[in-house]
């Protein structure tokens, strides 16, 4: 699936987008998997209260299932307007 990062999450992880092969059942599972991979992921996902997630471009919850999802995006709370 495509995983996208925005704002400081993108900067901390170092790429705006990557393809990730995973069998993670939920967003939380995916995060655990990524944190185990490398320090930069561990740092980016250290505080989930500072993060938001969108599944296929809809704001979602961290316990949401990933089945059928093609695009996951992680970013900080929005600051538009």
């Amino acid at each position: 699936m495509d995983v996208l990062y925005f704002a400081w999450v993108r900067e901390r992880i170092g790429v705006p987008k990557e393809k990730i092969e995973t069998t993670a059942a939920t967003v939380n599972d995916l995060i655990s998997e990524l944190r185990g991979r490398e320090e930069r992921y561990d740092a980016a996902f250290a505080d989930l209260t500072a993060l938001r997630v969108a599944l296929d471009q809809e704001l979602s919850e961290f316990d949401a299932p990933l089945e059928g999802v093609r695009e996951v995006a992680f970013f900080p709370p929005m600051t538009g307007g």
């Binding site: 969108a54 929005m78 307007g81």
Partner: protein, 146 residues
């Protein structure tokens, strides 16, 4: 209903005029424009990142909800991304309703929702450094009234 997401500047006066023009059915027009403020220390440039695809979807959904809830004659949202200097207009919304209360409420609703629910992130660059603007608790709290 019109939603525009672009990096180019937009003409606030012309957009406001075009939005208000030729209406015989709506007595009240409200517009809001957000402008890059000079911050302490001297803002060099404001950079706005967004999530192409999701941004347009989120803004359309918010605008459609406002049109529906306040029976608006029309709604407009324009939001820029990219780099802009102090004094430049970042975005605008406009609402047309039969009466002023609805036009005001709908415009505030649009602003409250797009501020915390549309995928835009601001980064302020000064001569010294750069930092992402933190979301404010009061902006999240502003959603509670709707």
């Amino acid at each position: 209903m019109r939603v525009v997401v672009q990096d180019a500047p937009f003409d606030y006066g012309k957009e406001a005029e075009a939005f208000a023009d030729g209406r015989h059915d709506m007595g009240a027009i409200v517009t809001f424009a957000g402008i890059v403020r000079d911050i302490a220390g001297g803002l060099d440039v404001m950079e706005i990142e967004h999530y192409p695809g999701m941004t347009e979807k989120a803004l359309k959904k918010i605008a459609a909800e406002a049109v529906d809830r306040w029976s608006l004659g029309d709604a407009l949202v324009i939001h820029r991304y990219g780099r802009m200097g102090a004094g430049e207009k970042i975005m605008m919304v406009a609402t047309a309703a039969r009466h002023r209360k609805d036009a005001f409420e709908a415009a505030e609703y649009l602003m409250d929702y797009l501020k915390s629910r549309a995928p835009f992130w601001k980064k302020e660059h000064t001569a010294q450094d750069a930092g992402w603007v933190a979301a404010k608790d009061e902006d999240e709290a502003a959603l509670d009234r709707w």
